[in-house]
Every structure is written in C-alpha cells, then in structure tokens.
Symmetry: C2
Subunit: 76 residues, 2 copies
C-alpha cells in the first residue's frame, strides 16, 4: 500500500479539521503537540497532510482537541 | 508510541463498526477484503481489534462498505 498521504483525500480532511479546531481553541502547534503528547514537528506534518496517521493517533488528537474522533474525519 | 491496538478504545470502535456494517451488507470477510483491496486475513485482524489502521485504510474500508469514513469511528 504505497499510496502517499497527499494522494488520500481523507488525510487532507483530517489535516484541515485538526488545524481548524486547533485555531478555534487558540492553540499554537506547540501547545497542541504538548496536549497530544507528540512532537511539535509532527503537528506541522499532520496539518500539511504529510502524515497518514493511525486510529490511535486520531484518538490522541481528538482528546487533545476536545472533540469526538469521528468529527476529525468529517468532510466539510 | 508503543500502545497496542487492544489498548486503544477507538480501535475497538472501528472494529465493531466494520463488522456490523459488513454483516448488514451480507458480506463475508473474504468479500469485504476483495472490495477493499486488502488481504482476507487483514479483515479478520481488523475485526478482532488487532490492527491500528491508518487513515488511508479507513478510507478504503469506508468506500468498500459504502459509508462515510467518519461513521466508522463513531461510538455506539
């Protein structure tokens, strides 16, 4: 399964939802990284659709952003 | 990030949703595997919460099951 993250529409949906929710909360990428327990650069990569994250990390971000995980995969 | 799939509640939610939807459609694991373009054993592993799948594979299963990806992460 050698599809690159940029080629998967749902990766971009997740990226946009994470970024929008982070900005709603007034968090920096650094603050979100700390809340989610991930490295700061990882948040940037996610928001640039460079990461095909796993369910486990979807859950970490959902908890850090105070939303249900499913909402982070909802198309606009 | 050495959390095992079984330790992540959302992995079990995804597992249950995939299985329920597969059964709703009257598909065997083999048929779903073919529709999603994955190996048959992979479907079994997912339904037993043994796989921490990525966004890309969530999308493959959503398409094969005819649902929005977000619904596969919705808690019951």
């Amino acid at each position: 399964m050698s599809v690159k993250p940029h080629q998967c529409a749902l990766v971009a949906v997740f990226a946009a939802n994470v970024k929008r929710r982070r900005l709603e909360l007034g968090l920096s990428q650094e603050e979100l990284a700390e809340a989610a327990g991930v490295h700061r650069t990882y948040v940037g990569m996610i928001e640039r659709s460079e990461k095909n994250v796993t369910i486990y990390n979807i859950e970490r971000f959902a908890m850090a952003l105070g939303v249900e995980a499913a909402t982070l995969l909802e198309k606009p």
